[in-house]
Amino acid sequence: MKMRKFLFRALTVALLVAIGAVMMVIGRGHTMYFDNKKLEYNGETYDALRRINVSVNGEQVAKLSAKDRGMATFTGGSLTFDLEVIREKGAESEFYTYTLGVPYGQDGTVVNLIGLLEELPEEAWKSEFVPVATVEEDDEEIITDEFDLTGEGMGE
């Protein structure tokens, strides 16, 4: 009986850990930044294109002119997106679909679409997004108000 109880408990814990692990993978949020900016690689310069429209699941998330940056948020390890590219004024639209993976620990990834379209090595067009360091703010005053009478606990 004790063995059965122990097994039941162990299985419950294992199941919860497994569900938690799955949630950590499928729910991990990332931001992908799309750049339509001039790229220099191996001494060569690749110019920005006239217009790139980025769509995810059929919904347009960015409309990029030259030098623009757009972004899309997603969960899971990879993002599939569609590109509508207009290389120069009056040119016809070209359509591409890409699926890019991102490392688990990376919150934001910058993708230079010019490098991607030119099929350059990954290191040329993919990098980690590093937020700009902000000026150190003054420390916040901590409000613990356990004797609050304003009805805050009700979520007003």
């Binding site: 799955v22 949630m23 729910g27 949020g29 919150d107 606990g153």
Partner: protein, 373 residues
């Protein structure tokens, strides 16, 4: 005929006496609705939102009442566990429903630990469970502040600067939960005549109600009811009273943790140091407004209570502003009402208990006198 009338009026009086609090609230609300000037659609939307936000938390109070431990002010401990879990989930950037599920899972071990501790302390303070659990929640709030304010960062890793205080350790006053905001409420939501119904959240609440109904019929549920009725008799019947009481508090704490996650996903923002502090008080007030007492509460009381209590919360500021010309008076009124309801319920419970004791004493005395004759 006369005796039939008498018994009917006695029944009506008994009904009024037993349901005086909900009836009083219904009357106040009936006066406030036309005064407030709110449209029916607005009012219904607000009530449905608040019902989905709070019902799960209030359901967590039912099991300790069943086990005779009164109103569990210690549910705050579960709320703290839910908050800590949400801080981690936000820092680890787990978004949407996976984030909510993970927060619930993470809150379980914390809630169990805190629940066992609370249950053991309450076992040592039998008969004074409510005041003890109330004080435990204050004590744990101090510990919560120590962990969240000083240990998160240097000891417990927190990666993101938008969660940490500018000094480099401790969590900010407010944690942004935008990434999980209303993810349960929006999934499967339907719009009926302008009223948004969060179907998934309601299904979760209904499932919890069914679990409680099922639980009451299990061996453990029966044991809890026996312990709630008379601990000595339950002990004589071979029930491990102390263990059963601890389990009831653990279940309540775990459910409160889940409830807090549901509550905060609806809010989309967490006031780190104050979200949990009043939650127990307001949930208990809502349950009492629904007609529950310290020793008896049902699922019906939860729903009636949350609807009445929160309807008053929605109406009071506006009605207060229209009647007195000052919105703040409406705010004070609703705070006064929530604390007042708890006080009245506690006084009524104690009076009833004393009366029952006195009646029992009289019966015993009469039986002894008869035996003497």
């Amino acid at each position: 005929m006369k005796s039939a009338n008498k018994s009917a009026s006695k029944k009506a009086l008994n009904f009024l006496g037993a349901n005086s609090v909900p009836i009083m609230f219904i009357l106040i609300i009936a006066i406030c609705i036309p005064v407030s000037g709110f449209s029916t659609t607005f009012l219904l939307n607000e009530i449905v939102t608040r019902l989905c936000r709070n019902a799960f938390l209030i359901l967590s109070l039912l099991i300790p009442i069943m086990a005779g431990m009164g109103l569990n002010f210690g549910m705050t401990l579960g709320a703290m566990a839910g908050e800590i879990a949400l801080i981690f989930v936000t820092d680890w950037q787990i978004w949407g429903i996976p984030g909510v599920v993970l927060a619930m899972i993470l809150s379980i071990p914390l809630s169990i630990g805190l629940g066992v501790l609370c249950g053991k302390i309450l076992n040592a303070a039998k008969g004074r469970e409510m005041i003890t659990s109330y004080i435990i929640s204050f004590f744990m709030n101090g510990l919560f502040q120590l962990v969240v304010l000083y240990l998160m960062g240097p000891v417990i890793p927190i990666i993101h600067n938008n969660i940490k205080l500018p000094r480099g350790y401790g969590v900010r006053n407010s944690v942004d939960l935008t990434r999980i905001r209303k993810c349960l409420d929006n999934l499967l939501a339907v719009n009926i005549a302008g009223v948004r119904i969060p179907v998934l959240t309601l299904l979760i609440i209904v499932a919890m109600c069914l679990v409680i109904v099922w639980f009451r019929r299990t061996k453990l549920g029966q044991d809890m009811r026996a312990v709630g009725q008379d601990m000595d008799v339950a002990r004589d019947a071979g029930i491990n009273v102390e263990r059963t009481r601890i389990i009831s508090i653990v279940i309540s704490t775990v459910l409160a943790g889940f409830g807090m996650v549901i509550y905060l996903q609806n809010m989309g923002d967490m006031a780190t140091y104050s979200s949990h502090s009043q939650i127990g008080m307001f949930c208990i007030a809502a349950l009492l407004v629904g007609g529950a007492s310290v020793d008896k509460a049902s699922i019906g009381n939860v729903f009636l209570g949350v609807i009445l209590f929160h309807t008053l919360f929605i109406l009071a500021p506006s009605a207060g502003a229209k009647i007195t010309g000052n919105e703040v008076i409406g705010e004070y009124f609703r705070v006064f009402v929530s604390y007042g309801v708890i006080t009245v319920a506690l006084v009524m419970y104690e009076t009833k208990k004393r009366r029952a004791k006195a009646t029992l004493g009289q019966q015993l005395e009469m039986a002894q006198q008869e035996e003497g004759k």
